[in-house]
Assembly symmetry: C2
Homo-oligomer: 307 residues x 2
Amino acid sequence: MSLITVGTMAFDAIETPFGKTDKITGGSALYVAYAASNFVKPVQQISIVGDDFPEEEMAELRRRGVQLEGVEIVKGQKSFFWSGRYHEDMNSRDTLVTDLNVLADFKPVVPESYQGAEFLMLGNLSPDIQLSVIQQLKQRPKLIVMDTMNFWMQIAMPGLEQVLKHVDMLMVNDAEARQLTGQYSLVKAAKTIMTMGPKYLIIKKGEHGALLFDNDSVFYAPALPLEEVFDPTGAGDTFAGGFIGHLAKTGDISFENMKRGIIVGSAMASFCVEKFGPTRLKEISKEDITSRIQQFKDLVSFEIELL
Amino acid sequence: MSLITVGTMAFDAIETPFGKTDKITGGSALYVAYAASNFVKPVQQISIVGDDFPEEEMAELRRRGVQLEGVEIVKGQKSFFWSGRYHEDMNSRDTLVTDLNVLADFKPVVPESYQGAEFLMLGNLSPDIQLSVIQQLKQRPKLIVMDTMNFWMQIAMPGLEQVLKHVDMLMVNDAEARQLTGQYSLVKAAKTIMTMGPKYLIIKKGEHGALLFDNDSVFYAPALPLEEVFDPTGAGDTFAGGFIGHLAKTGDISFENMKRGIIVGSAMASFCVEKFGPTRLKEISKEDITSRIQQFKDLVSFEIELL
């Protein structure tokens, strides 16, 4: 089954307590593509870059079965650039620079060849852009998952509420779920969000794992306790890519299979943080992924006879 | 198998965003006893109270198989009193009052009838008191678990390091594990702690669950996502009581059985926070506990075929 991913392809400059990068490739759609392409082909990418975006990166994505027809390359302009510095605890960061560049005028066009995709991953972008992609699809995908962030809740809440009515799943972090609903309890926040449109909700809690909700059930997947988180940039998008990649591979959108998707996504995210940017995602093999998923099974498995 | 628990029996006055109590009973050993007595009898309590401590509470504990021969009642003096106010997020609190009262001169004496106990739970007390209990035991228990807190790391670190050499397991929260070792990464903190004496370590992460480490393995148990945390007071001690109660019931100190102990402890803690103080722990039945443990199984269970 095919998967459309919409999001940024960009440059990041990252500082962590472990070191510092110059401009390296990044962006939500890039991470989603690297993660998802381990499981499903084609990944049909929709994004925008300047003519400074490296052709080697494009070639590497194509080699992995990522279609780039939906990636607009704007001549004479620069790609989106973000620079940030992580604090000692790696859970918080300061944004140093945000240069929208080509992103300022992003009006995604869904290529004819992408029509009919069964899965759609809407990365964090303005609600207008997210909605425009949904509206261009002639056939509604089997599953539409969207990410968003607090910024859009502050400046574009009506638009965000509109998109929420059209998606099957919202995937946000705990702070975003709280801000969106004004509820501190994640269980209450989940109930509120499921009245806003989505039938499913994933709340990402970083080093504390992830929660999956539908109306009746909840699933809690841990994060792998890591000796070192080298660079958390892209971990959430990598999680999303692994999750929806697994679902698109299997074509199964049952709650049980979403649980598996979360384990796959968590495994992918645990690789992402091991090196700067998407470096580690380009190195890992199928065997590495299988062995990491086994670690997750071992991490949470227990047998208990009820008293 | 029998279990000795050492800790406070006290009065607490609690404010949460949901309400406020007058003085109610509390203390680490009280919570441990209420939780553990569901699984093992006798629970052999070592503590100290003033003559203001309610006889009904003592009677209730006895009814549950808690032996109180090791609880000193000091005539004409008051029980330990703590008062605190929880913040909106329930993860942090301000201490308003700490009146040590009888606790200032606590010199625990292990009754002869307690000798031979296979399990020992050392609640959070000064390292000197914890060590004195260990030294009074003629036969070393099969498993010694200790709790502690940042306060002792600040004022009694040499004593704390001494006790650590004599115990099998340390059970602390994430902030305490970090403070004890100077390591932010919990995996690194765990490795450091296991060079200090304990063979096992449990790191309690509150709403984010708990981690169990030994030298080779790690287990991550989630916390049940709750609609409302009414009052977190005593949740950590209730977790400890459920954990060691299960171990003492089964007599099995394998890593696999410790995992089960953590699930039992987590289930007990999830009851504790539903009402003020130990109220909820006095209400629940065996059936409630079984059904809650089933919820934990459902919460984390997944099946995945490796690719």
